[in-house]
Symmetry: C2
Subunit: 382 residues, 2 copies
Amino acid sequence: MDIVRPTLLLDKEICLRNIARMAEKAKAKGLIFRPHFKTHQSAVIGNWYRQFGVTAITVSSVRMAQYFAQNGWDDITIAFPVNILEINEINALAGQIRLNLLIENLESVEMLSEQISEDVGIFIEIDTGYDRSGIAPNKYYGINAMLDVIRATSQLQFKGFLSHTGHTYTAQSKHDIYNRHFDAVLKMKSLKNQFRHEFPDLILSLGDTPSASICDNFNGIDEIRPGNFIFYDLMQHQLGSCNLEDIAIRVVCPVIGKHGSRSEVIIYGGAVHISKDSIINLDGKHLYGQVVVNKEGEKVLLSERNYLYKISQEHGVIRTTTKGFANFKVGDLVEIIPVHSCLTANLMGNYLTTEGEWIPMMSSDFYNQPGSSSNSLFTASK
Amino acid sequence: MDIVRPTLLLDKEICLRNIARMAEKAKAKGLIFRPHFKTHQSAVIGNWYRQFGVTAITVSSVRMAQYFAQNGWDDITIAFPVNILEINEINALAGQIRLNLLIENLESVEMLSEQISEDVGIFIEIDTGYDRSGIAPNKYYGINAMLDVIRATSQLQFKGFLSHTGHTYTAQSKHDIYNRHFDAVLKMKSLKNQFRHEFPDLILSLGDTPSASICDNFNGIDEIRPGNFIFYDLMQHQLGSCNLEDIAIRVVCPVIGKHGSRSEVIIYGGAVHISKDSIINLDGKHLYGQVVVNKEGEKVLLSERNYLYKISQEHGVIRTTTKGFANFKVGDLVEIIPVHSCLTANLMGNYLTTEGEWIPMMSSDFYNQPGSSSNSLFTASK
């Protein structure tokens, strides 16, 4: 099949290798492997995990939980603080599958307690240092106040503590990632020590992609939830989570212009395809992607001196060296390795595998008007 | 209808007022008004322009041209350098409607000359200072080389010169926008003087939203193509293109958490809803949106000291003052005024009007697998 416009190319073999590596690591360390599916958002790709024994997954929204439930997954954690406004969808879904919700404040769990009609598992979100959502691990008073509501509500089963160590993404070195991860491990273990007498089966759930890829010490942790690792990307590469060869997706883009006076190449591929996430390049500028060109039938990765340095809605501008400039020809295709594969995939809406198969995503094969109450996929009865 | 998750709210009255103002300005100055439809990407919204006499439109991709052609528009300029790989779709479309293409280099027009089978209008893209795509206005040799190919190809009708004065977006003041716009006007007029003897009907087409909103001197220009003005956004407001009351879209987001220790509020609404485009706030930090809250039944815009200052895939973090913090309650809805409405709309996929009507976009009601050659909407024969 000819590619004629920006297309998200996916290498299935690399994905399977990445899944296998993470599944083996989890197994070797006795961890529940509950991968995050927000990265790929695809039922087809989700099924690739099954051959590695995965039966439980993580998602980031009720909509995503509905989509994967409809596609055969019956044990789902929504790793996003519960949005009480979606209580109807939550009750409907909880009547069909094993659903775990996340709480991080008393108001939410009180409203949940009043409005929940089905059994759900509850994780309390702990802020181990990322400073986004979650309660600080030393706030026993606040944690206990939430637990009191859980204790008093028969439909709410306390499952454990969950944290997203997202501050590994801003680490300056691998050593820094070890440090932040280990600090999170210690904080989580202190909670287990505090509450394991009342809740002997409580689960500690961690596992952003950088720490899950790099760190070896998960002592005391029960579950990991990495997502990005199936594709990886340049941000993960810069952090040291992966090799360039482990990155499974690229955006194929047509070359539409060349500007020799400033050694720049214009591609059809912009913010609506690749996203505006960037890392800082060697030259101190924002880098939106690295570039692979076709040289006499062989794919060649250009150095960071030839990189995607500017994007607008549909245009991308590749800055090149004088020598690098000669690699581009108007009408050719180039491949862009993305900085943040989650956002790129979300924008592109579907995948073309290197074997020529089209793979749809949630956004393309599960479209409904948001906010409409007729969106529920399930009836409320069990 | 209850809003329960991030939803793109659209005020139709504001849109109509914005269109009316721009249509009147174009009429008063004797300009062809060919609005850019990449901002809204919606057939329903496109039809709102018809009552203002609009019959010709601008789009940024072949796919968008196909979509609007299917929805009754028969005079379309694709204001993006021609992507020769889409020649089959271009020929099919050109057999059905009046289609104008953009060229900016010799290679493209040579390939076009060989492969075009239908009549198309051709604009040469001029780089008036934005340094993205386009040929510099003083490169007569290059321009003439392109014109030679056009002259020799019966299907290619030269229409004129087109420029996107995108560097008005980085202007530091209104004065700076006037300067950059006027510089572009002069450069375009010099081209008209040079080529009007051979092409007496040649069109000069300009018109980014900042200059189309702010500037009054279009002397010598024949056509404007603004797009963003239908919605406007915080970036346009910062540039001085609009008042806050002219911004027609907001993302409605549920409040899911509050963190008093750092005066921060967590909302369900992140990079996959609002986009990562930002402006610099008064405090020197990135601002991803301003916040409107509901105070005793009235919508109140909070000052820039309470703003969306961090976003990840699904989370948004609002930084507030101690006083501002009291405006938020878990389970409430807040409205985010976006920084760049084009990218926000592209991500959200559809609109809910303040009158309660759902309006689909191209991405939701015109879905096809990209790159598939079966995407053509028209047969090649006239």
